[in-house]
Assembly symmetry: C2
Homo-oligomer: 338 residues x 2
Amino acid sequence: MKTTIKDVAKHAGVSIATVSLVINNNTRISSETKRKVLRSIKTLNYHPSRSARDLVSKKTGNIGFLLTDDHFLRTEPFYSKIFLGTEFEARDGEYYVLLTTVKSNFTKEDSLPRFILEKSVDGIIIAGKVPQNLIDRICVLEIPIVFVDYETNINGHSHVLIDNVQGGIIATNHLLELGHKNIGFIGGDINHPSIHDRFLGYKQALEKANLNVNPSHIFNNTLYTNRQNGYVLAKKLLEHNEGITAVFACNDAMAFGAMQYLRDNGIKVPDEISIVGFDDVDVDLLLKPPLTTMRVQKMELGIEAFRLVVEKLKNNNSSAKKILVPVELIVRESTKQL
Amino acid sequence: MKTTIKDVAKHAGVSIATVSLVINNNTRISSETKRKVLRSIKTLNYHPSRSARDLVSKKTGNIGFLLTDDHFLRTEPFYSKIFLGTEFEARDGEYYVLLTTVKSNFTKEDSLPRFILEKSVDGIIIAGKVPQNLIDRICVLEIPIVFVDYETNINGHSHVLIDNVQGGIIATNHLLELGHKNIGFIGGDINHPSIHDRFLGYKQALEKANLNVNPSHIFNNTLYTNRQNGYVLAKKLLEHNEGITAVFACNDAMAFGAMQYLRDNGIKVPDEISIVGFDDVDVDLLLKPPLTTMRVQKMELGIEAFRLVVEKLKNNNSSAKKILVPVELIVRESTKQL
DNA sequence: ATGAAAGCGCTAACAT
DNA sequence: ATGTTAGCGCTTTCAT
């Protein structure tokens, strides 16, 4: 039989109410009783029943973590790391994290994740871009949501975002400082807020350096932001332009695709073309040359997201925040002085 | 206020006991009452409170999913897919899945996952190789465990395994049928049951074909089974042997490493060397040539594991099973007739 | 076939 | 500062 609060009370010679107060760190308990109770708890290896606790407090003790399946299954563990950050942060606390995926083509006909229907989560973290109709349907529910790595125009909910604009600026400045003037930009879905912002940073850096933003140096119209399209866009960029000496790829995947195109065509990186990526994704060490990129603290994103939901849960009045997680330039061997 | 069983009872004009019986599919309810209650449930959008239910039934309604962090963060989403299988299978049911990672160097000093300490899971799925001391400490607890993709000598617990021996045989036979006779084997940690079995399949296939198992063709002594070591072992294999025309790599990662070595040294695949991998891992389509490999149904592994825990939970007497999930040869372009 | 009622382990309001 | 007690929403005997 599992140890209950009664056993602890009996063992410590106090009432169950006292034990409860101790568990919940109530201040109006004498430190002596507290110590006594704590000792009993330890001796009996007591852990409060979550269900009993949840039942009376009308909480569930769970946080839902939601993302699309293709994000979860991305070759590079980007969102997995964000989740791990959340899970790490949750470990010391009182919440469990329920991870679930939705199809990336989630429609009105699809039903919401079960933990939402069954009201089994106190709050939800939504990671990455998810279908708008999903968001709309969750937002009408009275449940705190934190968006991580996806900016929405939804009010009243917190966001944890990568500082993409700043990252775009830093990456571009890096190339400028190396003497590059003809810098191409390859990006995927420009309607995606993150890519849009990285592109914005690119333009701002160029303008600040009094350089023209040459439209023919910009290719950002593919649906997916992946290696294949990195290959395709690098091809287009270089076939339509002469004198390009550097490329800013809106993420590492596209950068890898671009590098493959260059390798296939005998163009040397970084000797002939410098490349900067974005994300600092884990990738096999065999890839050469190692990519200069903007490091994103993925775990940090997940950690902050978790803190924000909990903050909201503890104090429902806490206002919606927007946290920008800074990025860091990691110079490796794919960029070089012109 | 959330709808409770009382509301449903009132709405349907029955007692809460009746509603409960209907929910739990009890047979001794007249089909008419049943229909009536079901309608009320739907109308009121009623979902039973998990905490109340769990409290009285002394269950938690949760399944724990455990793996090491480096498995979870593997570049190729192998274990993520297994998890997704479990999560998919859990969707229609009554369980939630709690995913947590442990450090791959988990020691006696580290504390067990919180959901185990707090007894918040009814059963546990352990995916992939985990530290033995972790297993030992969990096994003493009275809680059903299912191991997936990791064979242990623990009795009383079910296993869901890849049919590695058969896979090794099929892969090797494929090369034999293409006329190859000098087939190298590169593997990582040979103490890992999966790799051991794939190697076993390799040997069995050769013996069956009346070919010698040449020890100098076998390199299987690295700690990690990854790309880097695939590169290293391919180098050793080819530097120490002449006449090798094919390589069976114990997993795709090593195969990729080997291919990289060959490319770096101007050896053409499949013209000069054929390569077979194992796992059929998602990888960017740019990798050339596409790898011939043994397909493993990762989702299927997770699905079966979930079914086995639930089976054990429903019927504690159900005996420990060992399920072998079959593999399938996927012929792509890295193998060729000699 | 259905209902009444006890009780799961806990929290919180109230009493002392 | 600590104890008493009602009740959270459900399942499950036991009556009817």
